[in-house]
Structure formats: C-alpha cells, structure tokens
Symmetry: C2
Subunit: 250 residues, 2 copies
C-alpha cells in the first residue's frame, strides 16, 4: 500500500467543530504526528501509532511524517485550528522541498479546519465581517520590525485584525509593544477583543476600547481581534454583540 501525508486541522477545541473529512483521515491513518496536546485529541485505537512531539520542532516533525510515508505509512499530521494558518502545512512543504526527491513524489494533501479567529469571531458576533488581516505576533520566526510595520500598515488600511500567538511566557513584552503601535495608529475608542480558549469549557471573552486594553488580557490561549474604525458594539445583559458592518459609505 502506498503511503501518504495528510495534514489536518482539528479546529479550536470542541470536537463538534471537526469536519467529517478530517475524521475520515484520522480513521484511515496508521500514524498521527503533532504537538503533544493535539495528538492527545485523537483517540487511541488498534493500528494507530501516536507520535507526540514538543512545540517548536515543526520541521523535525514534518521530516518524520514524510519519511514514514515513504516507507508506506499513512500519516496524519495534526494541527489545532486550520493546518494552513500558522501551523503544520507550511512546515511539511518546506521539509518536502528541502528533502530527498522521493518526498516530492508523495501524496501530500491538506484538509482545512476551523481556525481560531473564525471561532473567536463567531463567539463575539461578526467582528471580521468586512476586510481584515491576520498576523502572527510571535517574533520567533521573523523580525519584530516586520510585525510592527505590518501593524502600522494594517491600521492605516483600517482592516479589522486577528492576532495569533499574542503573548507567551518566553515573550512577555511583545504584546505590550503591539498595543503601543496600535495606540499610535488607531482611535482610543476602537474596540479590541480577547477570546480565550474559544469553544472549550474555559472560553472567556473580553471586549474593551483600545484605551483600556492591557497586556495581561492576552495569554498563549488567546486570539485577539482588533476592530476596524467602524466596528460596532451592541450592549446586552449576557455579553455584547460586536460586528463590523458589510458596507462602508462612499
């Protein structure tokens, strides 16, 4: 039997957000590789070997998946959210491009998932209802100057913005610097939203004007959404609705 690599997205946390297509891939796989907590979301069964690896070893993990597939294994590479958004798909193609020619002859497919910003936006209302951008705030793999440049241009374009990886123990200061850039470029009453552990029992949502945002409002499990200048809030007793209108008047 010929091996393959299928890169799948497990969605933001709630199993009811995993697509049937991804469930089908996991049922056919002989091996699952991924970051420890994501691999643990795949139930153990006979015939399935689960390979857990630590964070920040994405290229090693991709090479492992490709080398197993060349040996005829059916390998599911799991990411949370969508595998094409700051996740494993790019790492697998990068490893395939730089690896032995046999890796580029393999069947490698990507199977989308609900990425965190879409689940966060849904929980809040529709803050990404008009043009938006999506920025990874970690400077592990790119210079901070590029992040800052993109923030300034995105604010000038008046995009709504979704931020992944806003803050971690290893990078406690970055998000505070991002807030300073946003305060330089956006109005103080522009809305900013913090969606933590979306779709899980730990879900917590916070909506504040930019002037009241603090770095501590974000952690590793938070997606941050910055509203556009016309993003609106509808106050309600059980949590506001936030949305960005579909139209911008001429």
């Amino acid at each position: 039997m010929s091996g393959w690599v299928r890169i799948v997205g497990l969605g933001p946390g709630n199993d009811a957000l995993i697509t049937p297509e991804v469930v089908g891939v996991l049922e056919e796989a002989t091996d699952v590789v991924g970051y420890i907590p994501y691999v643990r979301r795949v139930p153990a069964r006979a015939g399935l070997t689960r390979h857990e690896s630590d964070n920040r070893v994405e290229l090693d993990r991709a090479q492992h998946a490709l080398s197993m597939a060349v040996e005829g294994r059916r390998v599911a590479v799991v990411s949370s959210g969508d595998p094409g958004v700051f996740a494993m798909a790019s790492a697998v193609f990068e490893a395939a491009e730089d690896g032995p020619p046999a890796w580029r002859g393999l069947e490698v497919t990507v199977h989308p998932g609900i990425t965190a910003m879409l689940a966060a936006a849904a929980a809040l209302g529709a803050p990404l209802g008009h043009d938006f951008c999506c920025i990874n705030l970690s400077d592990n793999l790119k210079p901070w100057a590029l992040i800052e440049k993109r923030l300034r241009l995105a604010a000038e374009a008046d995009f709504a913005m979704a931020f992944y990886n806003p803050r971690s123990k290893a990078r406690p200061e970055g998000f505070g610097r991002a807030l300073e850039v946003l305060r330089d470029t956006c109005a103080p009453d522009q809305l900013i939203m913090f969606a933590r552990a979306v779709s899980t029992p730990d879900q917590a949502l916070t909506v504040v004007p930019l002037s009241e945002a603090t770095p501590e409002m974000a952690d590793m499990r938070t997606v941050v959404i910055m509203g556009a200048s016309n993003t609106r809030i509808i106050p309600r007793d059980d949590g506001p609705w936030v949305y960005t209108p579909r139209s911008v008047p001429v």
Copy 2:
C-alpha cells in the same frame, strides 16, 4: 418554546466540510433562510420550512429571520463558507441593532464554517501559511478607492492576500483594475492563484506569476490568492504545491 436565530456556515461546497455543530443546528431548526443555492443545500424534511431569497437582499433576509424568531420559530440563517466572512452574520447584527428592541433580546448565535480561502489554500498547499489579509473586491457596498488603498497597503506590508468576489457579470472591470494595482506594487514573478469551485467536482486551480494573470482567470465562483514576496512553488507532475514559509529571516 422560545425562538432563536443561529447563523451557520455550510463550508465551500463539499458536505464533508460541514461541521457536526452546524448539522445539529439544521436538525433543530423549524426554518431555514438564505440565498437560493445555499438553502437548497439543506435537505427538505417534515417540520422544516425553507425560505429562499435572491442575492443582494441580505438585510431583508436578516429582518425576516429575526421576526420569525420573535414569534417562537427556530431559524437557521445559512451562508456558504463561514457566516462571519463577507456573509450573513454582519447583516443579522446590523438588522438587530436597527430593529425593534425585542430583536436584541433574542438568542442569536454564530456557528463557524470553512471559509473559501482556507479550502482554496488547502487545495493549493499552504499559501496563507504566514501573515495575510482578506479583501472583498466587490464595490457594491464600499467605494472602489478604499479597495485600491487597501490593496496598495497590503502589498506594502507584503501580506499574502485572499480576494473574495473578484469578478461578476455586473462588475466585469473591477478585477482588471485590481490586477493593475497589484502590478504597480508587487514583483512580476510573485505568484497569484485562482481557485474555482473549491471542494466541488468543478474544482479548478491555476497558479501563474502575476505578469501572466488576466482578468478572465477569475469569475464569481473563484477565490484569488496573491502570494507574498517569499511564497514558493514546488513543481510537480500532478499540479504544483505552493506555500508561504513560516519564517522570514532577520
């Protein structure tokens, strides 16, 4: 029984990409409202009334959904893709904000789906694997000058870009103008991708350098993805892999 409005995403076309959460909403609904082809994706059954409406009447449709929910109906509002990305969620909240107070007391929830750009990116490889933006190229609801400004700033930020509604019979020229703006601001060999009818039997993928792109490559069923300056192509006999690397060297 109290009524509700649940705004759901049916994904890009293949039913294997609909989440179990959305399937559950559709099973509980008494009414489904939406644009004709999306409502027809929901199977008829006893106890379910399907309300089909034409394109471009989003606010009317949203008001209809909210008014039925006030009467105790359980109303599913369907969009293709994700309901929060250029779809019905913003229209429902806009109608709720401007409508009678009872509408703002309703249970209104949004249930995410696989939006077209994620399915298109997955089919192509991982072109949205790093920072990106998402722009609706239709000028039905915003001035063309704003679209052009956002394109220029997004190019300056070196985002990968996903374009929705690139071209329609009513707007045949807009996409050609967008290509001109991109040619002003991006390198001629930067990759641009056309993903038509993604996840359906009609799926067609085209990848060309920007210098070879023509307006006719896009239609109403196409999502266009413009690569960033470092987006790479891996040629293969059965269609290339395209990906944007996770890292940008300092």
